[in-house]
């Protein structure tokens, strides 16, 4: 097939969405503004989930009890992202991590920062599974997940 026959139509689609947070997540983000991390506890299995759910996905029962969890936790796993991709606004490199906050029973997905990220080998030395990290708050709160700016190593 000649170049002339391989014609393409370029397109970019932008479509606006408005996705409801619901009561449970509204309350969670309102509490982030007050620098509190809230989970919900299932009365059946007793697990505390962060982010909170209005129902326990395993027991399929309403989750009614709010519990404040610690702002510190343990690194369950992490990734050093050094790859830009379309629609990603975060500046690379960055670390996405799964953190088990004290007092919760699920892994909370956020970022680890506050350390020198420029040298990858040093990062590997600095961040280990099982390390303790603590939430660092954004000064300006917008009522979203980035009200927690990031988690930083405790030491």
């Amino acid at each position: 097939m000649s170049k002339e026959e391989h014609r393409i139509v370029k397109g970019q689609v932008m479509v606006p969405y408005e996705l409801a947070l619901g009561r449970t997540w509204c309350h969670f983000f309102d509490c982030l503004k007050e620098e509190k991390i809230m989970g919900k506890k299932c009365r059946k299995c007793s697990r505390v989930l962060v982010p909170p759910r209005s129902f326990c996905p395993r027991c399929f029962e309403d989750m009614e009890e709010w519990v404040e969890v610690s702002q510190e936790g343990v690194v369950e796993t992490w990734v050093y992202v050094n790859m830009p991709f379309f629609a990603q606004e975060l500046k690379i490199p960055f670390i996405s991590a799964q953190i088990r906050l004290d007092g919760s029973d699920s892994g909370f997905i956020h970022q680890i920062a506050g350390i020198d990220l420029s040298d990858f080998d040093k990062v590997r030395e600095r961040v280990k599974l099982g390390d303790r990290v603590r939430a660092v708050w954004s000064t300006e709160k917008k009522g979203n997940i980035l009200d927690i700016a990031y988690f930083e190593p405790v030491k």
Partner: protein
């Protein structure tokens, strides 16, 4: 329930096609009907495997796909995960409603944004997307746990790439055909550490069609029917932090498939496996969960050579997803390849042993949120 057989398969190369998606789809469906000697009117029902907006830039894309699959005036349906399309097609026959079903999965990966951009939209906009998650990032988090918990080495993971890219050299339909060494993999860019570029699958074009028939019809259509003998699937929680990334739902899916197929010892019973490994280490982890080796032994499995083309249980003789990744179609590609191995029609990448039972696996979502296992037998 009635028995179901795969009678024929047809597949495109994973290389970028310069045809429109509609023409690209038509060519393979025309090919499979010609192979089977069927007219379009003689096919009972159509099930598509395709994902719309993000993977094809079209909303309700199956509306666009139908003509190329020959669905005019027929009952049809669609699933985004093509292993589901396959089982839905099988059910139409098992139930006695149809004697033939054409299952076709399609995508032109070359036409849409990188997988990382597309899979970032798997993440919800409240919690996961804003902190940078996509399928590769979660896979990398899963890999780091895998390395740490079981002492698997990065070199052992790299060996999967060497094996699968090596196998792909013998598959005329493979997308990426380039032999690589462990050093090449280890030296490739650490884009999602611990994942390196060469450990991540490419993005491919692909149309694959599988013709299904009832027992009576299958015996008329082919001398080599390939029977569906087992199927199982299972879903895990959406949020990766709600699960143990190293103990997901593949064990459950496999147990369901093995029970249906009457398989007690998968390592002995399965002759060849086509496993969906978008990231190299996942082939090792999935092999553990499929019972091809025991927990934590994925590294030793690749070291042993057992999963090589000439090993006791070859895994991904086609080159797998690491060589060809037409995302929503990749599960049906595994099923088609497993069927070809049983038929003895895989060509240069036919394994050098009698294949009676083959396993095909598909996965979708962050870190293997959903898994399907298909058992096919001669």
């Amino acid at each position: 329930m009635r028995r179901v057989a795969i009678t024929h398969v047809a597949q495109s190369s994973g290389v970028e096609s310069k045809e429109s998606l509609m023409d690209f789809t038509y060519a393979i469906n025309k090919e499979i009907l010609d192979k089977a000697g069927l007219k379009r009117e003689e096919v009972g029902c159509i099930i598509a495997g395709a994902a719309d907006i993000f993977h094809s830039g079209l909303s309700c894309a199956n509306a666009f796909d139908w003509d190329g699959i020959g669905a005019f005036l027929k009952e049809g349906s669609r699933a985004e995960e093509s292993a589901f399309s396959f089982i839905y097609g099988c059910m139409r026959i098992m139930s006695g409603h149809f004697d033939t079903v054409l299952v076709t999965a399609l995508v032109k990966g070359s036409e849409n944004p990188d997988n990382d951009a597309i899979t970032s939209f798997y993440g919800d906009p409240f919690y996961l997307r804003p902190v940078g998650l996509n399928e590769s990032a979660v896979a990398a988090m899963q890999m780091r746990q895998y390395l740490e918990r079981y002492g698997i080495t990065e070199e052992q993971c790299a060996k999967v790439v060497v094996k699968n890219r090596g196998n792909a050299l013998f598959n005329p339909y493979a997308h990426v055909k380039k032999r690589v060494s462990i050093k090449d993999v280890m030296d490739s860019e650490r884009i999602y550490d611990p994942l390196k570029t060469l450990e991540c699958s490419p993005k491919s074009d692909g149309v694959v069609a599988v013709l299904l028939a009832s027992e009576k019809r299958a015996r008329k259509l082919t001398g080599k029917p390939v029977w569906l003998t087992g199927y199982g699937s299972s879903m895990d929680h959406f949020i990766p932090g709600d699960r143990d990334l190293l103990n997901g739902q593949l064990k459950t899916a496999a147990a369901r498939a093995y029970k249906m197929a009457g398989i007690r010892d998968p390592q002995k019973k399965i002759d060849v496996a086509e496993i969906c490994e978008p990231y190299a280490f996942q082939e090792l982890l999935w092999c553990e969960h499929l019972g091809i080796c025991s927990e934590g032994q994925g590294g030793k499995l690749i070291d042993s050579g057992m999963t090589q083309m000439d090993g006791a249980l070859p895994v991904n003789p086609s080159g797998g997803v690491l060589a060809t990744n037409p995302y929503p179609a990749r599960g049906l590609y595994r099923i088609a390849e497993a069927a070809l191995q049983i038929k003895g029609q895989a060509g240069e990448h036919q394994v050098d042993k009698k294949v009676r039972t083959a396993l095909a696996h598909s996965t979708h979502g962050f870190g293997g949120q959903c898994h399907s296992v298909v058992i096919l037998s001669s």
